[in-house]
Point group: D2
Chain length 127, copies 4
């Protein structure tokens, strides 16, 4: 990841990454909050997007394919106020043209704060 | 919006806001990109989240209610590479306990790049 | 449509169908209800699925492609009790590999009762 | 369930039901198929809707509440042609006003054919 990109901007720290599971964490600070003081829901959707994309990329790039986000459905269960955002992504389906991922986002007490389901398309890399 | 929050971090510029329509724009730069060089899908989901939340807030806060994001389903139609992200949010349903919004995201040529459907809960403000 | 299939079972009556718009209606009777007496949410999701699939089929089958449902996200806005279910489907995106549709479902008074967003894959027909 | 309702129409056979897990099965026959001969996607969405609604009902009705479907997002992974549809629903979140469920639908060989995420609202029963 580039030092300039959106994952860096959010402060995303990748902990592990493979086509079977991707994990990351993120320290909560003001820059991730919305006006009410909670973590912005878009941060959680963004983390889910990164993890599912990275995991798909790792599973398909050696065959000359790229991972392209198609849809991201994030459900918010509990507001996050402080501490660390913990995220785990696991594939639910690895098709020839589409991968589906489930991402679980928890707080420091292991409580589920958001769950996301993502569809990532697998497309041939253009030369 | 605070000068420190996530909307500021992304560079979101609110253009108009009411309970009937919210519009915003965002200049594309490296900080909004993912490793392939495209705008990170999470940015588009985040913009949708902000617009639907602000619009619901404007419709319910005078009755002592707050807007709480429940679900954000963003579909990505076309990669965004440069220029400006344009977003328009309109409510599809304004219920007593839930509002539904559709957000359309277009590029400088007016092409649809993402569409999002969001459910925002309306909850009594805690004293 | 076969006289034996699921659309017939529900009593779906197709009113118009093209790659630009598909419309249908359905008379409400006990067989479409759930135990509380309302129209079963699955009926509304099913109608949306049929319309989006038929519309995509009409747009792609002459090129030797088939339409394959990928995802159906139906949101329920208002319970339906009696009368007729009216449905209109329009494409939001017609890509090479995926079409996205929005379906609006209304009652006899024109009130919005459900909205659905569907992704339909376009795949080459196997010989 | 009434002998006249939509679950009966589809031939849904409930196997077990509690607020922690609901399971059901359904024999595939022509009446559940779409024109291409596969099980209609709406059938799978409908089964998911029934299971999540029944499970929420069992968890909230003793407190004088009813379960009301809000949103059903079903993803289709693999076409179903014959045999039996097997469905298992488990709650991912049991909030005061909303329950979220994941439903897994498999074929006779245990292969995942569809996954669904549903939001079911919990509302006070009107007298």
């Amino acid at each position: 990841m580039s030092a300039e990109d959106f994952n860096h901007l959010m402060g995303l720290e990748m902990l592990s990454a493979s086509a079977d599971e991707v994990t990351a964490q993120l320290a909560i600070s003001d820059k991730l909050r919305q006006p009410y003081g909670l973590v912005h829901g878009g941060v959680l959707a963004s983390v889910a997007e990164t993890l599912a994309s990275v995991g798909t990329h790792l599973g398909v790039h050696e065959q000359g394919n790229v991972a392209v986000g198609m849809s991201n459905h994030t459900s918010f269960l509990r507001p996050m106020l402080q501490g660390t955002i913990h995220a785990v992504a696991r594939p639910r389906h690895r098709g020839r043209t589409t991968w589906l991922w489930d991402v679980d986002i928890t707080d420091d007490d292991g409580r589920s704060c958001a769950i996301a389901r993502l569809a990532i398309a697998v497309r041939p890399q253009r030369p």
